[in-house]
Point group: C2
Chain length 289, copies 2
Amino acid sequence: MDVDTRLLRYFAAVAQEGTLTRAAAVLYVTQPALTRQVARLEDLLGARLFTRSKAGMSLTPAGEALAARVPALLDAWDGIARETRAAARVLRVGFLASAANEATPGIVAAFTARRPGWRVEMRQSSWADPAAGLSTGDVDVALVRLPFPGQDAWAVDVLLTEPRVLAVSSAGPLAARERVAIGEVLDEPFVAAPGATGAWRDHWLAVEERGGHPVRVGAVTEHPDEWLTAIANGDGIALAPASAARFYARPGVTYVPLDGVGPSRVAVARAGDRDPVVRDFVDCCLAAF
Amino acid sequence: MDVDTRLLRYFAAVAQEGTLTRAAAVLYVTQPALTRQVARLEDLLGARLFTRSKAGMSLTPAGEALAARVPALLDAWDGIARETRAAARVLRVGFLASAANEATPGIVAAFTARRPGWRVEMRQSSWADPAAGLSTGDVDVALVRLPFPGQDAWAVDVLLTEPRVLAVSSAGPLAARERVAIGEVLDEPFVAAPGATGAWRDHWLAVEERGGHPVRVGAVTEHPDEWLTAIANGDGIALAPASAARFYARPGVTYVPLDGVGPSRVAVARAGDRDPVVRDFVDCCLAAF
DNA sequence: CACATCCATGCCGACAGGTTATAGATGACG
DNA sequence: CGTCATCTATAACCTGTCGGCATGGATGTG
């Protein structure tokens, strides 16, 4: 009988949390999706796994039996997948569009020097996935900007801290300014990241610095190119890391120093340090700064 | 990283067989489907698992690593699923429409006497699945008629052997006959089972007894009711087990003894005899005859 | 040079999984 | 005693994936 390991992870989360609602939050899916997947697993196995009540879901004997063995099975699979990738000598590195920077080629060179025979596969992710493919298992390690959704589940080392600046249309009045304070622009429309990215989106809308002041969203973009176009068009302004002035210079877009907001941090994130190859890559990252 | 165990079974089959084409035959899927699923697994893992050549597919080092551990993982999952079902105290029994007979209630009664607290869930399957849900894992044990597709993969005990007779329209000339020889009716249109059922369909079209004589198919049916209607309507004639005269008596349909064909066998099939509960059920079946 | 044997690709229909919105059931609380 | 808050279940919709069939392309073989 075949099953997707995702179903088993869902089941384990529900067994752990005791309610569908909470498990759904942990898994970043909606509660109806969980309801159906759990029911589907019960159908597949031909056994009721939970007794439902207003208070939540509690395990039946069959559920207990399953819950006792599923974590080990999932661990075994994760281990197999890791070993398989290791045997292929490919390290998959995700990076967020705006987290790439001058150091990347040096890091890759240092890594291939330390691990001859290994190939590094770089995968750029859109802003719709600030975890750069880590959470879906698409990559082994990722260069990201903090904070990102689900960050607590990963091992993270900060590589670089840089100020956040303001990106504005060159045609607008702010472009001529020497400096701007965040308090002056709280009513401006902002160009934002997609809605599902939670803390990450908030960070780039300066929600923390607004003290409750509402956000006006002028546009939503996923890629640097759309982002630059939206700003040049005057659809809104946006926070950006200072290095964007070098990487994303474009006629029509001006970067202005900004007061009153904290810095942005670039970090290297991964599942943990059990894998020595990943650890080597992390070391190369740390050595590059 | 999540994966469907079906993908892993596909992979294992290809690794075992060495070519996609042969593995596809073993798995009862088409070769293009396998091509894509293997490619998908490689994508998911981010590693090439096979080197393709005209001669077939041979494992890369990454493929070797995976192949070394996948069978144990699949076994572990199958064991977990079995234990979970056992904890639920539900035995799922599949039965083919025409394999059900007088003995069934007695078998179930004997089983529940031997295993108090257990519930038997009977699932009737259409003729589109002569394995009665075994092959998909929908049931733990099944009452079937031999031969059925993929039969070699299962443990099988014959319960009962009965002659095959001919079902004809009462309005036709054959209905008045005392006996009929198979050689007389090779040119008649037959009412057949769905095309994907292979050996099973052939068995009921008397392909073995035809000596190459081609089959005319007058209708295709999946359920006894359609089958009876098709025969009564004169869409074709059909082979049937002798007991059909009792179970599927209907005005307009006449059963005539038939010479020149072998008997039909009812059997109990299951994955093996490791599961003591399934073994008990099998014992009850054997004791009932 | 036709043929057999592989694997890959394009197209299409069916279905599964996700989302949002909403219903139903049941304690907790003013 | 109504009003919430908190659960799970269901409905409607959209998209991506899987399977099938048909076909193409590459490569040895008689």
